[in-house]
């Protein structure tokens, strides 16, 4: 049956990503890297990669492995690669961070770990691109949301490739003129391809489909959505041409801006589309994941306005930390946590109750969660992000660390809710007659019965 697939390793990706999120935030709160140390300090790089790769990339990979078969209405291509990809990504990130710790002086003789870790990460991402790209290739013509995801795969490839180049350059193992010329423009491209070209563009595509599904809005191909796609295609193309020019020896001292501006334009159109989807919804009562998605998109709009403001006032380099924080935690992470809340419940329901649907009374997906408890954590998280961004803009390091601590507490609280959902904690006794046989594993794959 077309698309009736469940990604067996998605919960494992989610579990690993949450561990990295808590660790990354705890390090920030503890003053390990930025803003106590400079943005470019190796300690900051440990945090940045723990959050960008460990948290966000693993979260996106896990979600895409589950969701792309829905987008493509086709089974996942080479699903057996999901487990080795996860192992490669986790080990690769651990080695990369060890390399950064060596640069920071915490360990000796670890520079070689930088390119080894980066190579493992690139291989892991290569497997992900193969699976998702192969799944999309199985469908005849790509829907608009699927085109966003496909474009994101190109950006992911570029981000991983640049990462390997930087690791080789930082390790000093090779002396190649081209690599020397990659900095600093290459750094902004690396961030662009990762957080904008891959994650944000994929999030656009996934949100277009998920929001219409969850809100029961008409699934139409809007002219505005086509415009947003055209802008992100142009944005990734400009970034790719700039990267090729750098690789061919063009010297560039300043960061790149045009791809970000084009993507910002696409982001504003995306925000308008989301508003349209919400207004056209048939499902009037909003669920918590829809509310958090709306908040995340509001953070994206704020981030775009802040970016344009900083760009035109010439403060972008001084305030880049606040902007990146807003994008990472306000937009991508809040969207991700909100969707995790929904996906964990949905996958748990499929594993536990799907096989007996229609044969015996089963709870609804919504009955596997407790919105009241989770919403408190989501609101604490949202408030903490606001305080943290303002503190970064005003250079209040102590307030910032306090806000990150509150954010960490909120994430731990949400993680407890995810675990409770997996443990069927909120399912009433009457509905849990089947639990003894069907209790799902916390994060390792379960075998799914088919009816």
């Amino acid at each position: 049956m077309a698309g009736a697939s469940i990604s067996r390793w998605t919960m494992s990706y989610f579990a690993a990503s949450l561990v990295f999120l808590v660790v990354g935030q705890a390090l920030l709160a503890g003053g390990f890297g930025y803003p106590v140390l400079p943005v470019e300090a190796p300690e900051t790089l440990v945090i940045v990669h723990s959050l960008a790769v460990g948290w966000l990339a693993l979260l996106f990979c896990g979600a895409l492995l589950q969701f792309v078969p829905v987008l493509a209405a086709a089974p996942l291509f080479l699903p057996g690669l999901a487990a080795p990809a996860l192992v490669l990504l986790v080990i690769g990130l651990a080695l990369l961070n060890c390399g950064f710790l060596n640069l920071a002086g915490y360990v000796d003789h670890g520079l070689v770990l930088l390119p080894i870790g980066a190579a493992l990460l690139a291989t892991g991402f290569g497997l992900i691109v193969t699976m998702i790209g192969g799944t999309l290739a199985r469908t005849g013509s790509l829907s608009l949301p699927a085109r966003f995801v496909a474009l994101g795969l190109l950006a992911l490839t570029a981000a991983a490739g640049l990462g390997v180049a930087f690791a080789l350059e930082l390790s000093g193992l090779v002396d190649v003129e081209t690599l020397h010329g990659l900095l600093p423009a290459g750094v902004s491209l690396h961030a662009y391809f990762g957080m904008v070209g891959w994650m944000s563009v994929s999030a656009f595509g996934v949100s277009y489909r998920l929001l219409t599904m969850f809100l029961l809005s008409p699934e139409t191909e809007r002219a505005t959505t086509c415009s947003a796609l055209a802008l992100v295609v142009l944005s990734v193309a400009v970034a790719s041409i700039t990267l090729m020019a750098l690789a061919l020896g063009s010297s560039r001292a300043e960061p790149v801006y045009l791809p970000f501006v084009l993507a910002a334009g696409a982001g504003l159109i995306f925000g308008y589309d989301v508003l349209t989807i919400f207004r056209a919804r048939k499902r009037k009562a909003l669920e918590l994941n829809s509310i958090t998605s709306a908040l995340a998109v509001a953070f994206l709009m704020l981030a775009i306005l802040l970016y344009l403001l900083l760009l035109f006032t010439g403060q972008i380099e001084d305030r880049i930390g606040a902007l990146v924080y807003l994008v990472c935690f306000g937009w991508l992470s809040l969207l991700g946590l909100g969707q995790l809340y929904k996906i964990v419940a949905f996958l748990t329901w499929l594993e536990c109750y799907g096989p007996v649907l229609g044969r015996t009374p089963v709870p609804r997906v919504q009955e596997l969660v407790c919105d009241g408890r989770a919403s408190n954590w989501f609101y604490l998280y949202t408030a903490a992000v606001c305080v943290a961004v303002v503190a970064l803009l005003l250079e209040g390091s102590f307030v910032f660390r306090g806000a990150v601590l509150a954010q960490t507490v909120a994430v731990i609280g949400l993680t407890v809710e995810f675990v409770r959902t997996r443990r069927l904690f909120y399912v009433s006794v009457q509905d849990s007659k089947l639990d003894a046989q069907r209790h799902p594993s916390l994060f390792l794959p379960n075998s799914i019965e088919r009816s």
Binding site: G3, Q66, L216, P218, G358, R450, S451
Partner: protein, 96 residues
């Protein structure tokens, strides 16, 4: 369709109201997911149904639930459930 078959179809539709879409919390009939129920006097039933989205991971379970629920109706001897996305389901297909 004979009156016996029409009565059987009506009983099947009533029984299918017990099959709930787990995400939306509404039954598959009022959601408009059941496109057609056809039955013969001999109890051979053919059902054409859809899901709210193509590629829905719960599709296989919904089809199984509809098949099981239909088979449990008295006088039903054989059930075939066909999943289709022609026409595509839209929110307008839900009954108020």
């Amino acid at each position: 369709m004979s009156s016996k078959a029409a009565t059987l179809v009506e009983r099947i539709r009533t029984r299918l109201k017990d099959v709930i879409d787990p995400e939306l919390g509404r039954d598959v009939v009022s959601l408009g997911l059941i496109y057609e129920v056809d039955a013969t006097d001999a109890g051979v039933v053919h059902i054409s149904m859809t899901t709210t989205t193509i590629g829905c991971p719960a599709a296989v379970f919904l089809v199984g639930a509809v098949r099981f629920a239909t088979a449990s109706v008295t006088d039903v001897k054989h059930v075939e459930v066909h999943l289709t996305h022609e026409p595509r389901w839209t929110p307008e297909m839900m009954s108020v």
